[in-house]
């Protein structure tokens, strides 16, 4: 076997073996770039912000609420509705030995500071986590599976570049006229144009999960004891010495004073959050995060002693000391894209979808090629049909399932017990039905009909999203347009665009089907 041939074989199988998982990872990972926006849509109780946020007036109310709700908390966090975040939210962490240990949160009204009762939802966070933690299986196994898929993807990318002889010549080429060539060209376009993104996202994905999959490396130095390894991990990613309190109670400056202090120091910067470590302790530290203007960090962070407002250098010192740690953080930020503004976020999303498209077109192209080969050789093509059906269920079924997840979130009662779990189950139930659909016994059904049916279902699901939003909340498209709440406008509008795309696919498939039927009739006459 020649080198290029062996690379072609490797490219095909490396892409196919984890094809469905990679598709899921790309689609849900891309949706994860808009996790906050998705969660916002799934919690319509959050009031539309009608004026700019008045932090100096509302911060004392948030602090007061924290003192009321969490007098024994050791960490507190106040998120301000600035930048992407629509939330004015307080978080607190109760240490062990106190009632309700762990993290808790409450949403506040950004115009009055009063608590707002919002429904529990898995939100966009679920889609984001789904792309690497998966669901229904242990976390460790999921890490291994997603890492293996990323490794296979990396192999497929590298071998893809090797086997693509005319990678530069064919750069802008998309020949639509011939079916098989069109799929190959589409696969090449989706793979080659965002090649740097694909390389970055797979490599960084592997690096981010290295503590699970490359365990032998730290284990060779620190042994296999999980507690010891946890300690090493905590040391590497700790926030430095300032994170430790001394247990002596002391009163801190009001947070609004530190807000004003930081605001006067960094005029023009937008403060996105305030966090207090060791709350109520003599060594309490206030972290003020501002939306970063340049660089790959999402926030520019300043640290202050809570007792006297003295500023000091924090975590960045630790990163400066270890080059490997700063490399890890760069990789992490590049992967998560938290630094990205709206335009760049959309481009990240588009590149992610192109990754999903690359995997999908690769699988479709493989099935078409196999079908031709089988028909030519007069072989039984039932196995190929099985793969084709699976392609329909996976590729068209997942968008339907995600749309179904959004609808379920709105249609389930807000007070239902375990509603978060039911939301998550709904995605898999819908996907399972979509996977079964192509395998249902029928008299006569060709593949294009299956594709058309699934895209029709997807079009209906996405077209009904703004409608269901209007029926189940007060923040419908008209209202969100009136108050210029672009997050909600964007969500409803994007659902309509997706519905239109799916309807267009149905139209194209039906058109092609009509032409082929007429050709068949013409030949037989």
């Amino acid at each position: 076997m020649k080198f290029r041939h062996s690379m072609t074989w490797l490219h095909t199988w490396a892409g196919l073996v984890f094809g469905a998982l990679l598709y899921l990872m790309f689609v849900t990972g891309s949706a994860g770039y808009f996790d906050l926006e998705i969660t916002r849509w799934m919690q319509p109780e959050i009031p539309v912000q009608q004026s700019s946020f008045d932090a100096p007036a509302l911060l004392p109310k948030a602090e007061q609420r924290l003192q009321q709700l969490a007098p024994h908390a050791d960490h507190v966090y106040i998120e301000l509705p600035e930048g992407r975040s629509p939330y004015f939210m307080i978080w607190w962490h109760n240490p062990k030995g106190v009632d309700n240990p762990g993290w808790h949160s409450e949403v506040l009204d950004p115009s009055s500071g009063a608590p707002v009762a919002v429904r529990n939802t898995a939100g966009g966070e679920f889609l984001y986590r789904l792309h690497y933690v998966l669901h229904y299986i242990p976390k460790g196994l999921a890490y291994w599976l997603t890492s293996l898929a990323a490794m296979f993807m990396l192999v497929a990318i590298v071998t893809g570049v090797v086997i693509h002889r005319r990678i530069f010549k064919d750069f802008f080429t998309f020949r639509r006229s011939h079916r098989q060539t069109a799929w190959l060209d589409m696969h090449n376009l989706m793979g080659v144009l965002p090649l740097p993104f694909h390389l970055m996202i797979t490599y960084s994905g592997l690096i981010l999960l290295m503590f699970s999959t490359m365990l032998p490396v730290p284990a060779s130095s620190f042994g296999l004891n999980p507690e010891k390894l946890r300690q090493v991990y905590d040391t590497v990613f700790s926030d430095g010495d300032h994170a430790r309190g001394n247990g002596m109670a002391a009163s801190s400056l009001p947070l609004v004073e530190l807000y004003n202090l930081d605001h006067s120091k960094h005029s023009g910067a937008t403060i996105a959050y305030l966090a207090v470590e060791n709350w109520g302790d003599e060594k309490a530290v206030v972290e003020v995060g501002k939306l970063a203007q340049t660089g790959l960090e999402p926030f520019d962070v300043s640290y202050y002693q809570a007792v006297n407002g003295e500023s000091f250098k924090g975590e960045s010192q630790l990163r400066d000391r270890f080059l490997s740690l700063s490399f890890y953080h760069v990789i992490e930020h590049l992967h998560e894209g938290l630094f990205a503004g709206p335009w760049l976020r959309w481009l990240y999303f588009l590149s992610g979808l192109m990754g999903a498209g690359m995997v999908a077109t690769g699988s479709i192209f493989w099935a078409i090629k196999r079908r031709h080969a089988h028909e030519k050789a007069g072989l039984d093509s039932r196995a190929v049909r099985w793969v084709e059906n699976l392609n329909v269920g996976v590729i068209a079924g997942l968008p339907i399932a995600i749309g179904g997840y959004f609808l379920t979130s709105r249609l389930l009662s807000a007070t239902l017990e375990n509603r978060v779990d039911w939301e998550m189950h709904s995605l898999f139930v819908v996907w399972f039905v979509a996977l079964l659909h192509p395998f249902l016994p029928r008299r006569q059904c060709d593949l294009s009909q299956l594709w058309a049916e699934q895209f029709k279902a997807a079009a209906v699901v996405y077209a009904s999203i703004p409608f269901v939003n209007w029926m189940t909340s007060e923040v419908h498209l008209g209202m969100s347009l009136k108050y210029q709440d672009w997050t909600l406008v964007g969500f409803d509008f994007f659902a309509l665009v997706l519905a239109a795309c799916c309807a267009y696919f149905v139209h194209k498939i039906n058109g092609r089907q009509r032409v082929s039927t007429m050709e068949t009739v013409g030949v037989s006459q």
């Binding site: 750069f171 998309f174 144009l193 660089g295």
Partner: protein, 113 residues
């Protein structure tokens, strides 16, 4: 400056796409043979435009973010161009001319974003 960087990127992509005979045939009604020298010039111009666009992004956004913006912008522009060349090749130059006009107007009105 960002608008200029995007425009330079589009110029680069268009010039490089014209290197393919197939695209030239689709884009221009009049068929004429393009000399090797012209093609080489086109290649140089395209690469220079892409390099210029990268530099412009870096100047505005810094090295790290500029690089990310540049690659993302390039992906979007190249994808749009590929689709346009496949669906409506004759529109490519018209659209490009329109973009150029818009840029000129924007520059005249005040600054390039």
């Amino acid at each position: 400056m960002m608008l200029l960087a995007c425009f330079a990127c589009a110029c680069g992509c268009l010039s490089l796409s014209l290197l393919r005979k197939r695209h030239r045939k689709e884009m221009f009604i009049q068929r004429r043979v393009w000399s090797t020298r012209v093609l080489q010039l086109l290649k140089c111009f395209g690469l220079l435009c892409l390099a210029g666009s990268l530099m412009a992004f870096i100047v505005v956004k810094g090295v790290a973010l500029g690089l990310v913006y540049s690659l993302a912008g390039f992906t979007l522009i190249a994808l749009s161009l590929s689709v346009l060349l496949s669906v409506r090749p004759r529109w490519t130059l018209r659209l490009f001319g329109g973009l150029m006009l818009l840029l000129m107007m924007r520059l005249l009105v005040g600054g390039a974003w």
